[in-house]
């Protein structure tokens, strides 16, 4: 085997290494700096009655999820079924309806079920900015003391629930 015929292979392998590093740098998979920090306070008008305030204060002492969504986001559609499943499992989820048309949002929840115990609307990205959200859907797990313990960018699914979220929630409930 002559060495010069190996040159293309070597160059290609170097390229693969860079592509692999590029993959690990996926912009959607950035760890949040907010993990294990106190969660920003949520205080948003409710989707169903804008004079009511959806507040994170009422959730003190519980282990709960914050889910950022919008009817414009196809991944949220995909995720919706699973959120309904979580609701049936008894997981309290507070929804933040981000940059959305309230009527569309109500229609979607009426048609496909409402997995949230409360939905706040955030048309101007106020809360979403505080939470450092990149895009929808994004989900945060808050512990009893009001600290963010886990975060996921993108849609939730059964695998994540089984492997990460469920064990972590059980542990936090026990704390």
């Amino acid at each position: 085997m002559k060495a010069r015929f190996l040159i293309p292979l070597v160059i290609f392998l170097v390229l693969v290494v860079f592509l692999a590093i590029g993959l690990t740098r996926d912009p959607r998979d950035v760890p949040s700096v907010l993990i294990n920090k106190e969660a920003p306070v949520i205080s948003l008008p409710s989707l169903y009655d804008e004079s009511q305030i959806v507040s994170s204060e009422t959730m003190k002492g519980r282990v709960w999820l914050v889910n950022v969504w919008g009817t414009w986001c196809p991944e949220c559609w995909r995720e919706h079924d699973f959120l309904m499943y979580l609701k049936n499992e008894g997981v309290p989820i507070v929804g933040i309806d981000w940059r959305d048309d309230s009527d569309d949002a109500k229609k979607m929840l009426a048609q496909q079920g409402n997995p949230f115990i409360a939905v706040g609307i955030d048309p101007e990205s106020k809360a979403v900015m505080d939470w450092g959200v990149y895009g929808a859907p994004e989900t945060f797990l808050i512990d009893k003391k009001g600290f963010i313990r886990w975060k996921h960018t993108g849609g939730l699914n059964a695998e994540l629930w089984r492997n990460e979220l469920k064990p972590l929630m059980a542990q936090l409930e026990a704390e």
């Binding site: 912009p27 950035v30 700096v33 991944e75 940059r99 990149y134 895009g135 929808a136």
Partner: protein
Amino acid sequence: MKARHKRLGFVVAGLVGLGLATWLVVNALDNNLSYFFSPTEVKQNKAPAEHIFRLGGLVEAGSLERGKELTIRFNVTDNAYRIPVAYTGILPDLFAEGQGVIAQGKMGTNGVFIASEVLAKHDENYMPPEVADALEQSHNAATGAN
């Protein structure tokens, strides 16, 4: 002997050609790269004063101002600092307040970024990774200060 010379000729010509091509590529890369900076980095004077760069962040809500002609002013923010931007021309379809944006241009003398090109994100699910990164970093800085 003759064949050997011919071969040598090919090799030399090849090397010269390759050298020229490499020079061309390196030279062009050198002149036409634009680095990406966030408003925080610009405030910290990390961005070049004389060279074109890309400024990314969110278009600050309520900051969009139209002049008489086609000049538009708005602020780009990473929620830590804001940089005023001036741009003359037609904005892309998806440009909107509160949304991610990348502006390419140079810093003007008065602290206003003079954009020659404005790119808005392409669909509602997509934020340019650079912008996401810049927001993350300013978040880092903000929480680090606490």
